[in-house]
């Protein structure tokens, strides 16, 4: 099986937010919940760089390690998913996540947290694939249809890559060799304990 990963090429990302709205549009993610967002450093200064961030679907995911209800599971494609029926909205995973991926809807007027929501790598959840109930809880399941996450498919400059780790690393490596610069596969050491050497 493939080992699915995300890779954002910071030298290509122009903070156009296509990944953000593509995600919202595909899964009807409600206002206030951001499964994906674009982070910009040195905004407005030389050295400005943007990176599109979401759940990286880590190897030995720290969210799973801290979850008191063990709602996380890893699919055969190495996508980290969770079961919303088990989630109690405790927020531990948010503290554990190095990427700030977990999101919580506000369910009451007193700051109560609803069930955690995050990027599913467009792979739905534990419900049966591509059913309405799966869509309502987790959004669409593109992987089951043989498609990749829409954020990466629609990235305006093809900065955000999704797919088998080996394959996207090769694409990135070739790109860096051709152009002669690259700032590394951001987040890979943290998420996958590896880096792309060029």
């Amino acid at each position: 099986m493939a080992r699915m990963k995300f890779l954002c090429d910071a030298d290509r990302c122009i903070e156009c937010n296509a990944c953000v709205t593509a995600c919202k549009n595909e899964h009807e993610v409600p206002w206030g919940i951001n499964r994906r967002r674009v982070v910009t450093i040195n905004d407005g200064k030389p050295g400005e760089r943007s990176i599109s961030m979401a759940c990286m679907h880590c190897t030995d995911a720290p969210c799973a390690a801290v979850c008191p209800t063990s709602c996380f599971y890893t699919t055969a494609d190495a996508v980290v998913l969770h079961d919303k029926d088990t989630c109690i909205g405790c927020g531990y995973c948010f503290y554990a996540c190095p990427f700030g991926a977990p999101q919580y809807p506000r369910v009451g007027n007193f700051g109560g947290r609803g069930k955690m929501d995050k990027c599913t790598y467009c792979a739905g959840g534990p419900q049966q694939d591509n059913t309405r109930v799966e869509y309502t809880q987790y959004g669409s399941n593109r992987l089951a249809e043989g498609k990749l996450p829409l954020c990466a498919e629609m990235c305006s400059t093809k900065a955000l890559l999704a797919g088998d780790g080996e394959m996207i690393a090769t694409i990135y490596r070739e790109r860096v060799q051709r152009r002669g610069y690259g700032s590394g596969a951001w987040g890979w050491r943290t998420a996958y304990r590896e880096n792309i050497t060029t």
Binding site: A18, K158, R179
Partner: protein, 979 residues
């Protein structure tokens, strides 16, 4: 991190309540119910407030049912001019999903934030749902029939009293080509030239500038061709935000060729963040920068001497002006050090092919046309036109602003840039199958037929100025606005007064737009719900002149109707009103006779057919609906870089360039492939080659204006030659190559003066066919003009902006004296004289631009929840130094004050080094607040955009380009204070 997060939640809640409440009417309770998990009955009851809303909301949550078949429909994104293909998945008439369009050579599956969320436009819970009018200041629902008949009545009343010129017809760059053409034709049949659209306020100076230089007003190359460039200069543009998908090509070019990407801009833009070189300039000093570069180029002999000798007229005159711009002088005026500019000039001139990319930073200036001319001259001097990887890559704004310009939504021309002289009117009268005399009779006086109309930048002046200052029978009294924001034109406080003085205001749009809510109007204001381009068929022309067929995704939602239908119905209601008044004026029958009418509206295919029969001048003649549909079907067969369909393509498109970029000569049957790169002499005309167009005579001061020693490949005439007419064909002995049918058609067009029939007026296409068979450009082979003697500044010269912070430079570089144009006075020096007095009070330069999430006036995109969430506040970018001096903190509220009408805007401060000290930037997509007042309650219930904010144009000021009346939005002065 947690602290920051809760901050974010607070900000979100504020707007989240506006978003969840369906309208302005205090529906926060709905949000409460939803949050408390009490949805169901409560929500359903509230949804009942806006009729048919519940139905739409149901559609909006439409999810693909994987057990049912899905239809895939191809359309084009309705935002910027890149022309990204959108693949819509449709089930049961509902747009349920969007998939990447991998096969499009333009976007290859990708989108920006706007393109990835276009599905929302068609779910449109904030769209106008039914026709409405203002009664005593309140919006009231009405039927289409009643709306059309009342509007027809009022238009005829104005016509009877004040003449047809008193109705201003504002069209749209959101029209399809067919819609734009139909609207222009409607204006002609109404009897006015006061018909305009967004090109006036975005690239009119580009069109004027480049057309006056080398023939056509359009991007010379394409987004894809930028992949061939070795040096790219982006000057006065921020495509990373305005045209994000174009960056795919720009960055690929940069990476593959290790190309130089040079950004010259007052602002360190998101594009600049990816540049190899960034040059910060003082706003409004583009010409000194270009001349400063040319100074180094001439000094070092880097110019392309052979190219200049063969293909350029008047470069010597440029040298004389450039000699004044020594590095010291350039630094004094622009703030750019000589060494930096030398490095840029050297790269541009020696590491070729080089391209110059510009947008509204160049055009929206009092010297817009001159800027564009200077840019073009730089390209000519370095021989960077008419080859792969070179050219003026002008990124236009709206999805069909190129097409709408091409079809004459312009106060000074009929479709396809024929102008408005008698020949032009005779040509189009023939195409329309009506007599020239009958068209003339539709105008107030024969004179008005040839008088350019009122431009959209000045409509309120035409309403408000004393009658004797407006060169038509009466002031403007009525306005019909299709698809156009009211916040995109400068001097909004005066626009408010103008709108209030109108006797009739019709806003035909998917959204209410600023026009509907800006003023204090109480009566005679109509809102007509118009379908988006996703809800109708038609073609649109992207910036690179490629024409793409767009198939209807779903039927018009709610009670929306298409542009075609509304224009047709309006024509019919005018006839009814005229009948009632015993007037002889009629419009519908004659105007719509040529079209196939299906379901009460003319079909896009039949309108395009008429365009094919008339638009010879820009080579739209070969672009038939059938060919475009084949291109849509076989998108994957076109090459990414050359845009050409290769050997693996089906025979019927083989060799074509994608979207048949115009000029696509002759008849569709001739199968010209289109012209990917304009003025390209390296390939034959039949393969899309060309030459510069001699439009301005054959000789000037004893020097020839025809090319010398340069011709397009395979040309039988191996030298310069004039445009093709029957007389020229006869002289060359080629006349008898015309078929009998072609000759008969020419005889019919020419009458007694057959020799004068030209490649533009020959309705058979025979002249073009014969010229191309001999390898010649139908329009001739001339020189580009470095000296454009018919313009106010034949050689561009620097002129300080009207309002400047460098008042010490006004004496040396004054703006133009007061003059008249487009029926109106045009003030220059008399306004500039105020600048020195205001210097102390308004020390900061104000400039404006785009954000990636929003587009144009922003009404449509600010109503899209996915986009609105990303940009919730109008803001002003201010340098930390200026902020500190004013005690302004990042994120705090400030007042931005403009130099005219005591104008002011309350916005949030974004303290950033993106702008230099003394410069402030505001995005132009916001509206709905005016001078500190929230106008949400003035929107019809349920149609208010999610995000409202102050418009930058509430504080922008006077200033117009002398050639096109382009407004100055990029350089004015302001003061900023903590609120």
């Amino acid at each position: 991190m947690l602290i920051k997060r809760s901050d974010g939640v607070r900000a979100k809640q504020r707007l989240a309540s506006a978003y969840q409440g369906l309208s302005a009417g205090g529906l926060d309770r709905r949000g409460f119910l939803k949050q408390a998990g009490l949805a169901g009955a409560g929500v359903a009851a509230l949804a009942g407030i806006a009729p048919r809303m519940a139905e739409a909301a149901g559609a909006a949550t439409g999810v693909i049912n994987h057990e049912q078949p899905v239809t895939r429909v191809k359309n084009i994104c309705t935002h910027c001019s890149v022309g990204c293909t959108v693949v819509a998945e449709v089930q049961n008439g509902v747009w349920v999903g969007q998939e990447p369009a991998w096969e499009s050579p333009i976007n290859r599956g990708t989108h920006c934030a706007k393109g990835a969320s276009v599905r929302e436009l068609v779910h449109g819970d904030r769209r106008i749902k039914f026709p409405m009018k203002l009664v005593g200041g309140q919006w009231q629902r009405m039927s289409w029939d009643a709306a059309m008949s009342e509007i027809g009545e009022k238009m005829m009343e104005i016509r009877q009293k004040s003449g047809p010129d008193s109705v201003f017809l504002l069209g749209s760059a959101k029209f399809s080509n067919e819609g734009a053409y139909l609207y222009r034709k409607f204006a002609a049949f109404w009897g006015t030239n006061s018909v305009d659209h967004q090109a006036r306020i975005c690239h009119s100076t580009t069109v004027a500038g480049v057309a006056n230089t080398w023939g056509y007003g359009a991007q010379t190359n394409s987004y894809n061709d930028i992949r061939n460039s070795k040096t790219m200069i982006i000057m006065g543009g921020n495509p990373a935000e305005a045209h994000p998908v174009s960056l795919q090509h720009v960055l690929s070019g940069k990476e593959t060729n290790r190309a130089n990407l040079i950004v010259i801009d007052p602002r360190y833009t998101r594009t600049a963040a990816h540049a190899t070189d960034y040059v910060r300039i003082r706003p409004g000093t583009d010409i000194p920068i270009i001349w400063g570069m040319l100074w180094h180029i001439f000094q070092n002999g880097w110019e392309d001497k052979e190219f200049i000798r063969q293909r350029v007229h008047g470069m010597e005159d440029v040298r004389a002006e450039v000699a004044k711009w020594t590095p010291q002088e350039v630094e004094r005026v622009t703030g750019v050090p000589g060494a930096q500019l030398r490095a840029v000039a050297e790269k541009f001139a020696t590491q070729k092919p080089s391209t110059l990319i510009w947008c509204m930073g160049a055009t929206q200036k009092t010297v817009g046309t001159a800027n564009v001319r200077a840019y073009s001259i730089l390209l000519l001097a370095t021989g960077n036109v008419g080859k792969e990887g070179t050219g003026a890559n002008i990124f236009r704004g709206h999805c069909n602003v190129q097409g709408a310009s091409d079809f004459g939504l312009d106060v000074a021309t009929l479709p396809a840039y024929y102008g408005i002289d008698e020949n032009a009117w005779r040509h189009w009268s023939r195409v329309w199958g009506v007599s020239f005399e009958s068209m003339r009779a539709r105008f107030d006086t024969p004179q008005m037929m040839h008088t350019p109309g009122i431009p959209t930048t000045r409509y309120f002046d035409a309403i408000l100025l004393p009658k004797d200052q407006v060169q038509q029978r009466d002031n403007t009294k009525g306005m019909i606005v299709f698809g156009h924001g009211g916040n995109t034109v400068t001097r909004m406080p005066e626009a408010v007064k103008g709108l209030e003085a109108l006797e009739l205001l019709v806003v035909a749009d998917p959204h209410p737009t600023t026009f509907a809510v800006l003023s204090g109007r109480r009566e005679n204001t109509y809102l007509l719900p118009i379908a988006t381009q996703f809800e109708c068929n038609g073609s649109r022309t992207s910036s690179n002149r490629s024409v793409q067929w767009c198939s209807k995704v779903v039927d018009p939602i709610f009670e929306s109707r298409t542009d075609y239908r509304v224009i047709y119905d309006l024509a019919k209601s005018l006839d009814a009103a005229a009948t009632k008044r015993n007037m002889t004026y009629r419009i519908a029958e004659e105007m719509f006779r040529p079209y196939e009418i299906v379901n009460g509206e003319p079909t896009a295919e039949s309108i395009l057919g008429e365009i094919n029969r008339g638009a010879w001048g820009t080579g739209y003649s070969g672009i038939s609906a059938a060919r475009l549909k084949l291109h849509q079907q076989h998108q994957d067969k076109f090459d990414l870089v050359t845009l050409r369909a290769g050997a693996n393509a089906p025979a019927e498109i083989r060799g074509d360039y994608y979207g048949l970029p115009w000029p696509c000569w002759g008849t569709p049957e001739m199968r010209h492939p289109g012209s990917h790169i304009l003025y390209n002499t390296n390939i034959a005309v039949k393969d899309g080659g060309g030459s510069f167009r001699p439009r301005f005579g054959l000789e000037r001061n004893g020097q020839t204006l025809l090319a010398e020693g340069s011709w397009s490949k395979d040309s039988d005439i191996q030298d310069g030659y004039p445009e093709f007419t029957v007389a020229v064909l006869k002289r060359l002995g080629w006349f008898d190559e015309l078929t009998a049918a072609e000759k008969a058609s020419i005889a019919q067009v020419g009458g007694a003066n057959q020799d004068a029939v030209s490649w533009m007026t020959d309705l058979s296409g025979g002249i073009q066919r014969v010229a191309i068979a001999h390898g010649c450009s139908p329009f001739g082979n001339g020189k580009a003009r470095a000296n454009a003697w018919n313009l106010p500044d034949p050689i561009p010269v620097h002129r300080e902006p009207i309002y400047t912070t460098r008042n010490d430079l006004i004496a040396q570089f004054p703006t133009l004296p007061d003059r008249r144009g487009f029926r109106l006075p045009h003030l220059g020096q008399s306004v500039q004289a105020r600048s020195p007095q205001l210097a102390a009070e308004f020390p900061i330069i104000l400039t404006s631009g785009r954000l990636v999430e929003y587009e144009g006036g922003g009404e449509e995109t600010r109503s899209n929840k996915w986009l609105a969430e990303l940009q919730q506040d109008m803001f002003v970018e201010i340098n930390p130094r200026d902020a500190a001096a004013r005690n302004i903190r990042d994120g705090s509220w400030v007042w931005v004050m403009g130099p005219e009408s005591n104008s002011r805007a309350r916005v949030k401060a974004l303290v950033t080094e993106r702008v230099g000290p003394g410069v402030a930037f505001m995005p132009f997509h916001f509206a709905g607040w005016f001078q500190g007042t929230d106008q949400r309650s003035k929107y019809p219930q349920g149609t208010d955009p999610i995000v409202l904010g102050e418009s930058v144009n509430a504080v922008t000021s006077y200033g117009y380009d002398p050639v096109t009346f382009m407004q100055e939005t990029k350089v004015t002065i302001c003061q900023i204070r903590a609120a």
